[in-house]
């Protein structure tokens, strides 16, 4: 589904990603872990098409297409979804209107009929149950005055409504208390399917207690330096990232 090869990217002249490889197949959940500054969020934003990041090398194929050729909105319409670490407020625009506009943009791109207000409401009501959201959120302005937990739940709701092929969750656990974390993770787990790929970007292992990954990758200095199963996450939890320092430079030499 997603094939990243030798991806290099920089921000304002600073190289962040330095030859990253990653393959995600449908039905898999991948966790990307790593210390601050290792390039986790950069990877998420580069894949989503944020313009501030300049891709300087490598390739990304998504469902057989060259992802880097596409604009951010086209990538979204192709089925790539990024759950933001810091969801953005759009004052004056209700969640319902925003979400329906997004859904119809995606459907239009796919050549499907737009949904009317009635069908949309039925769909969104059903999906709201996934994340235990109250209907009043539909009428509030997008992320405007939302608490940290509400924002993250709202991201998962959007994901559930837009039904993407590949979901990238950028530090979705940050700023959540344990109850909110559980609710969000439950929502994500219900969206796990054999047709969908999920990439969980996180600093801490605790989210992975709830969203159990098939593969764990450790990112350091813009490269994946180690990959393994879910036990790798537990090892990181116990040992921290300090041990990476040596292995990272070692791996760097070989890659």
């Amino acid at each position: 589904m997603l094939e990243v090869k030798g991806l290099m990217a920089e921000v304002e002249g600073n190289a962040i990603l330095r030859g990253l490889d990653l393959t995600v197949n449908a039905g898999e959940v991948h966790a990307i872990m790593g210390p601050n500054g290792s390039g986790k969020s950069t990877l998420a934003h580069v894949l989503a098409g944020r313009e501030d990041y300049e891709v300087t090398g490598g390739s990304v194929r998504f469902e057989g297409r060259d992802l880097l050729e596409l604009e951010a909105d086209e990538r979204a319409c192709e089925g790539l979804f990024l759950a933001f670490q810091y969801p953005v407020a759009v004052p004056g625009i209700s969640n319902a209107y925003f979400l329906r506009t997004a859904l119809n943009a995606v459907r239009k791109y796919r050549g499907e009929a737009e949904v009317d207000a009635v069908d949309f409401l039925a769909l969104v009501r059903e999906r709201m149950k996934l994340v235990g959201m109250d209907e009043k959120f539909l009428h509030r302005a997008v992320n405007d005055g939302f608490s940290g937990g509400e924002k993250k739940r709202n991201e998962i709701l959007q994901m559930a409504v837009l039904d993407p092929k590949l979901c990238i969750l950028d530090e979705t656990d940050s700023g959540l208390d344990i109850d909110a974390l559980r609710t969000v993770a439950d929502g994500v787990n219900q969206l796990r399917s054999s047709e969908r790929g999920i990439v969980v970007v996180t600093h801490y292992q605790r989210l992975l207690d709830y969203i159990v990954p098939d593969h764990v990758h450790v990112l350091s200095e813009g490269r994946i330096v180690r990959s393994g199963g879910k036990e790798l996450a537990q090892q990181l939890e116990q040992e921290g990232y300090a041990w990476l320092e040596t292995s990272a430079s070692g791996a760097g030499g070989g890659a």
Binding site: E51, V88, V90, R100, A102, L103, A117
Partner: protein, 513 residues
């Protein structure tokens, strides 16, 4: 603004979709041209350019006016000669040659009109193109909910259409007359209701008020007149549609609305003009009088031709609008969406004379290309416990300059006066400007005056967030701006809210990215 872009609008026909206001699909707007830039080929009966006592007298004579009105015009004209054009506004334009303007132009009637059926088909077609229904709808007019979210089924809208200087048709007149409501062209009011016109004309905006008001008082040609008798709620929206057609003419209309004790009325005005290379002057005066417990809601969607992207052509819009809350608990509410005109100079104001009277001003002003707007309001608190609310949203794009200028004045006797002002500016791009000049004069220690102001640049973060959900940049910008303007749009009657959102979407096309 990009290459193809020009200001314009797609006007919705009078029908109202059942979707909620927010769900109006902005993406349906594809037309990038100023849609109303066409010229109607119709014979005009015009006076030669220039202004003199003879011209003023000739206008009055052609309109078969009574002596007192001619006197009024001449007083105004003589006073105007002594005045200088104001230069304090944050606008920049070459001097206007007042000797080179045609002050009176009327579509030549084929014969005297007795009913709508006899209106020149060319004219009817023009208004048809503009989406203004002049044929009266058959369905019965229901009751308009005032202030509340308008019901999905709106009642009919009564329309007065002003073409160049002359009112060409007023609809639903008979139906309104049954309730004692007078809704007609200004010229007709002078003939049919001279006592009302004489009593109120110039009572809110005196002919000495300012340069443009004096000019208007001397040469005004037509406009609308509304009179709502005591205790009557006007059952439909009253609307005037202004169209400038002839080249080289100025448009000087005069609107007077009087709501007697306990009366309620909602009034809308819209305006367009052909695309022309020269600038055309529009100097209107609007006077509102609200007696005890009366409510007047006045909404404007101003879409005069704004000029091209280099700033060539466009309307100079110098307008004086003022309402007086004469009685206790009277309320006057101005809502304006200003997207057209090369220059906008306009400060719809409220004189809060009655105790507990209320004044409101809700404004969205968008300037793109090389448009300039200096707009705002004056709230003058005279009575006790008077309240005013000001919400101004300025959006600047391209090389547009957008200025909010407002005065909140609390007189000595205005015990317990309250004002809340909020002025927000949004910038799109880095070649435009936003300016705020709030003036506050308080002479009563019990007054509470609050002012909030923000300036923001449309956020890359917001646009990326929308993009990441599949929404294109153009749609994202229009959505974000609409959200920014929401507090104002929700004050507009439903049909106008639809039009205003579309107008913004079209005006914004190509301004980012």
């Amino acid at each position: 603004m990009n290459e193809e872009s020009a200001m314009g609008a797609e006007r919705e026909p009078a029908g109202v979709p059942s979707a909620t206001r927010e769900e109006i699909d902005l993406q349906e707007v594809a037309d990038r041209e100023y849609e109303f830039g066409f010229v109607t080929d119709i014979e005009a009966d015009a006076l030669p350019p220039g202004l003199s006592e003879e011209i003023v007298a000739e206008i009055s004579r052609r309109k078969e006016e009574p002596e007192w009105l001619l006197e009024y015009r001449l007083r105004a004209y003589r006073h105007w000669r002594t005045m200088a054009e104001p230069d304090w506004a944050f606008i920049d334009y070459p001097p206007v040659d007042y000797e080179n303007i045609i002050y009176y132009s009327a579509p030549k009637p084929k014969k005297k009109l007795e009913s709508l059926d006899e209106v020149d088909p060319e004219l009817l077609e023009t208004f048809q193109k503009l989406g203004i229904p002049l044929a009266e709808q058959k369905r019965l007019a229901g009751v308009v909910e005032e202030d509340d979210t308008p019901a999905a089924e709106l009642s009919g809208v009564a329309v007065d259409a002003v073409f160049d200087s002359v009112s060409v048709a007023t609809t639903f007149k008979d139906k309104l007359a049954e309730l004692g409501i007078v809704f007609c062209s200004f010229s007709e009011a002078v003939k049919e209701h001279p006592e009302l016109v004489r009593k109120y004309l110039g009572s809110v905006v005196p002919h000495t008020d300012n340069f443009f008001a004096a000019l208007n008082a001397a040469v005004f040609s037509d406009g609308s007149f509304c009179y709502i008798p005591e205790g009557v709620r006007c059952p439909m929206e009253l609307s005037t549609y202004f169209r400038i057609n002839a080249a080289g003419t100025g448009q000087f209309e005069r609107t007077l609305i009087v709501a007697e004790k306990g009366a309620t009325v909602s009034y809308l005005e819209g305006c367009t003009a052909p695309m022309r290379d020269e600038n055309q002057l529009h100097a209107a005066v609007v006077e509102l009088v609200a007696m005890e417990d009366a409510t007047i809601k006045y909404s404007t969607v101003q879409n005069w031709y704004p000029g091209d992207k280099e700033g060539k052509g466009g309307i100079y819009n110098f307008v004086t609008k003022r309402g007086a809350c004469r009685g206790d608990r009277a309320k006057i509410s101005w809502t304006q969406v200003e997207t057209g005109s090369a220059i906008t100079w306009k400060y719809p104001s409220c004189l809060l004379q009655g105790d507990d009277s209320v004044g409101e001003f809700y404004s969205v002003a968008l300037t793109g290309n090389r448009q300039q707007a200096d707009t705002g309001t004056k709230m003058v608190h005279i009575g006790r416990n008077t309240k005013s609310t000001i919400v101004s949203k300025g959006i600047s794009a391209g090389r547009g300059q957008n200025t909010y200028r407002g005065l909140v004045e609390v007189k000595k006797g205005a015990e317990g006066a309250r004002n809340f002002s909020q002025c927000d500016s949004m910038l799109l791009g880095d070649r435009c400007g936003a300016h705020t000049f709030p003036y506050i004069e308080v002479r009563n220690p019990t007054a509470k005056v609050e002012h909030e102001a923000t300036t923001s640049k449309i956020g890359e973060d917001q646009i990326f967030y929308c993009n990441q959900r599949g929404i294109s940049t153009e749609d994202a910008v229009s959505m974000i701006v609409n959200g920014f303007c929401k507090e104002v749009f929700r004050e507009l009657p439903m049909e106008f809210a639809v039009e205003a959102q579309k107008l913004l979407a079209v005006s914004l096309e190509g301004s980012v990215g």
